[in-house]
């Protein structure tokens, strides 16, 4: 978290990028998110299932719409909510699962948090890839880096936007975590 904060500062200092993207701030819409998500999908092959929020909600792709996220959450709830599961020995497991996929849902159903998460996901995957195959990535690295920077800057802008008090508090809480 600390790392990403400092690097995003560096990013905004980059004159080339900051010139390129002054039109974007007004569009914090899903369109922008979905584009950037697609870039990370290709890299998320080795992702651990329990930590990828998209996989927790059984979403096939990272550019699922908000409606899809909601629907996935509700259908997961119907399967795994501890109220549904009447086997006392499985209750604890169901509770743990619910807490997990509810966290996934809260992040992915909130535009600001989701963008931030996507950005982190991208960073994490990128780190893995670098270890695995340093050579192949060298070309990809260029645009991947750019996208990561863009997303970070956009999430920075999001933070500066007035937004609702609740969304800001929640974003802060996420940082504490």
């Amino acid at each position: 978290m600390n790392f990403s904060l400092s690097s995003s500062l560096k990013g905004s200092a980059n004159p080339l990028l900051s010139q390129k993207k002054p039109t974007k701030p007004s569009q914090i819409n899903p369109k922008f998110i979905s584009v950037s998500c697609r870039a990370t999908t290709t890299l998320s092959t080795g992702e651990n299932e329990t930590t990828n929020f998209y996989k927790v909600l059984s979403l096939s792709s990272n550019n699922a719409s908000f409606d899809e996220v909601k629907r996935a959450y509700k259908s997961m709830a119907l399967q795994c909510h501890p109220d549904i599961c009447h086997n006392p020995s499985r209750k604890a497991e169901a509770t743990r699962m619910f807490v997990q996929f509810h966290a996934a849902y809260t992040t992915l159903s909130d535009p600001v948090l989701r963008e931030k998460y996507d950005c982190e996901l991208g960073l994490r995957n990128f780190g893995k890839m670098k270890k695995k195959r340093n050579l192949q990535c060298s070309m990809r690295k260029g645009w991947q880096d750019q996208i990561v920077e863009l997303k970070k800057r956009s999430s920075c802008r999001m933070k500066q936007r007035p937004g609702s008090w609740g969304s800001r508090m929640r974003a802060q809480n996420m940082q504490h975590d």
Partner: protein
């Protein structure tokens, strides 16, 4: 958790279909304990059905009379005259008194009731008594509720021809966890096991989810998410919820509630009619209460009402009261209702345009002003009409009873789920006298969260975890739930030991507070983690916290860990 299945003798007369499932679980009944009226409903195998008492009533007045040696409740008892209820022998409005201490303004407002509510204003439970043969016989709200529940249970057992053990009760949103323990206590006294305590608007939300599910089945529609605002105002409490419903799942987005209701409207009106009289005079005038109540009811249908009553002692009221007058007298209460709706919509992060339906239930939903204010805030011309305003809550509770008992319906009518949210934040005292929430308001249940705190003094080996529930920034503004001490923190400079305080709420709304100590670099807790089920305090003694402060000062304090940059 659930009791083993009962073999009921009369089961033999039911059809063979049920025999195949010999482990047929007992279906919990739904009970709506209202401030003025109660009702019971159950899942009859295909739908929810309300029970009727011997006088064919679905709605039964909530009161217990101590007129004879054996107390009797309003389930089957027939009052010879309305005045009998107001003679001091009957205790009612127990829902407004249960689990409250004598410094609570709601208890003070109850002092105008015809029975004895005595307060000493020191933060203990009020003294409640009924007048029996010119003797004040003391009782407690729990006892009164338990007597009433025993009658309800007996009635249900006779009609359903099986023992009743499990129940889902509806409760106001604003009830503190301490109040919930008092309700559980009353149920236990009545031999009922509480399967769930369900905030009233969430019960309505579940009923709504079922109705939407049915219409989807009929229309083969897509079943997209529907956002509903539920406003429930009864005699004692006003509650608001925003729910997101899709595919039979009702997710509670936000809850808001306050102890304002028809009783406050009534008291304001009584004071308005007799402006120069004190609380004790109004108290003795049962007739005034009846007349005013009647006038308020009639003002829902007509724009003005003639009040003509002889209160004795040469006191007569002869007055025409208009609807505007009634609305003006109760302006503050209606404003409070508006604020609750606005706050709930804000907490749910829902725009007014996104609301699919606005549901208005409860006894006060007949008041034109209430209907209008809800409509105008939600910018809706029409309110949702698919529900009986008085029965919606108990029907929802019965549905939850069937779902939570593990009953499945071949037609999918019970493929339902409520994802509940916490109505109040829960946290601990830290950073001086501040309330630091660990589980914020409107967090989905079940929930697990933890926050790291640290010591305030060098070589501090002990720390007090004082748990509160509420919305105030300072601890004094919140309800004390309990406290415990962690000992054996390894001596270290202040700010070094990490004291991890976690909170865990399961689906049955049981709260557990966990606390462990970790030194930097270590993986495992230094001392065994403490786990405490809350609330632990009796009688809601908020002054326990003051006593702790007097004894220990700030020596055992904690503070939040500053985020490292």
């Amino acid at each position: 958790m659930a009791e083993p299945a009962y073999t009921v003798a009369s089961d033999s007369e039911t059809i063979g279909e049920e025999k195949s499932s010999s482990v047929f679980p007992e279906i919990a009944i739904g009970i709506d304990i209202g401030t003025s009226q109660c009702s019971v409903a159950f899942w009859n195998g295909s739908q929810v059905e309300l029970l009727k008492n011997t006088r064919n009533q679905k709605m039964m007045r909530s009161y217990v009379t101590f007129k004879d040696e054996i107390p009797s409740g309003g389930v089957s008892n027939q009052l010879s005259h309305e005045n009998e209820m107001l003679s001091g022998a009957a205790i009612f409005n127990m829902k407004r008194l249960i689990g409250r201490v004598d410094t609570d303004p709601v208890v003070h407002a109850s002092k105008s009731l015809p029975f004895l509510v005595q307060t000493l204003d020191i933060g203990v439970r009020p003294f409640v008594a009924a007048l029996v043969n010119n003797v004040w016989r003391s009782t407690t709200p729990e006892e009164v509720l338990a007597i009433y529940l025993v009658e309800l249970r007996a009635m249900a057992e006779i009609q359903l021809k099986r023992p009743i053990r499990n129940a889902v009760l509806s409760i106001p949103v604003s009830f503190s966890r301490f109040q919930l323990t008092r309700i559980e206590r009353a149920c236990a006294m009545a031999g009922l096991h509480v399967l769930r305590l369900m905030p009233e608007p969430t019960a309505v939300a579940l009923l709504y989810a079922q109705q939407q599910q049915l219409t989807v089945h009929e229309n083969m529609g897509s079943g997209s998410e529907k956002i509903a605002l539920i406003f429930n105002m009864g005699a004692g409490y006003c509650d608001v919820a925003v729910s997101a419903t899709a595919g039979g799942v009702s997710q509670i987005k936000a809850l808001a509630g306050s102890p304002v209701g028809g009783e406050d409207l009534l008291q304001n009106m009584m004071r308005h009619l007799l402006p120069n009289h004190g609380i004790n005079e109004i108290k003795s005038m049962g007739l005034l209460r009846v007349t005013t109540q009647d006038a308020i009811h009639r003002l829902s249908l007509q724009t003005s009402v003639q009040i003509d009553v002889d209160l004795g002692k040469g006191l007569k009221i002869c007055k025409v009261v208009s609807r505007e007058e009634f609305e003006e007298v109760n302006r503050q209460i209606f404003e409070k209702c508006e604020n609750l709706i606005v706050q709930c919509l804000h907490d749910a992060k829902v725009e007014i345009e996104d609301l699919t339906d606005v549901i208005l239930v409860g006894g006060c939903s007949y008041i034109p002003k209430v209907r209008n204010l809800v409509k105008s805030i939600c910018k809706k011309e029409e309110l949702y009409t698919g529900m009986n305003t008085l029965e919606a809550v108990v029907c929802g509770a019965a549905l939850e009873g069937a779902v939570a008992s593990g009953i499945s319906d071949p037609f999918g009518n019970l493929d339902l789920l409520t994802i509940q949210a916490t109505p109040l934040a829960i946290g601990i005292r830290a950073d001086g006298n501040n309330f630091i929430p660990i589980i914020p308001r409107n967090t989905a249940m079940p929930s697990r969260r933890d926050v790291v705190f640290t010591t305030v003094r060098d070589n501090q080996t002990e720390a007090l975890i004082i748990v509160y529930e509420g919305e105030g920034k300072k601890v004094e503004e919140n309800h004390l739930l309990g406290y415990f001490k962690i000992m054996g923190i390894p001596p270290a400079p202040k700010g070094v030991p990490e004291i991890n305080v976690g909170m865990d709420i399961d689906t049955s709304n049981v709260l557990r507070v966990l606390a462990g100590v970790i030194l930097p670099g270590a993986q495992h807790p230094v001392i065994p983690v403490m786990e405490v089920r809350m609330p632990t305090v009796d009688d809601g003694h908020g002054w326990c916290a003051a006593a702790l402060h007097r004894t220990y000062g700030s020596n055992l304090d904690l503070e939040t860990v500053q985020k490292k940059i």
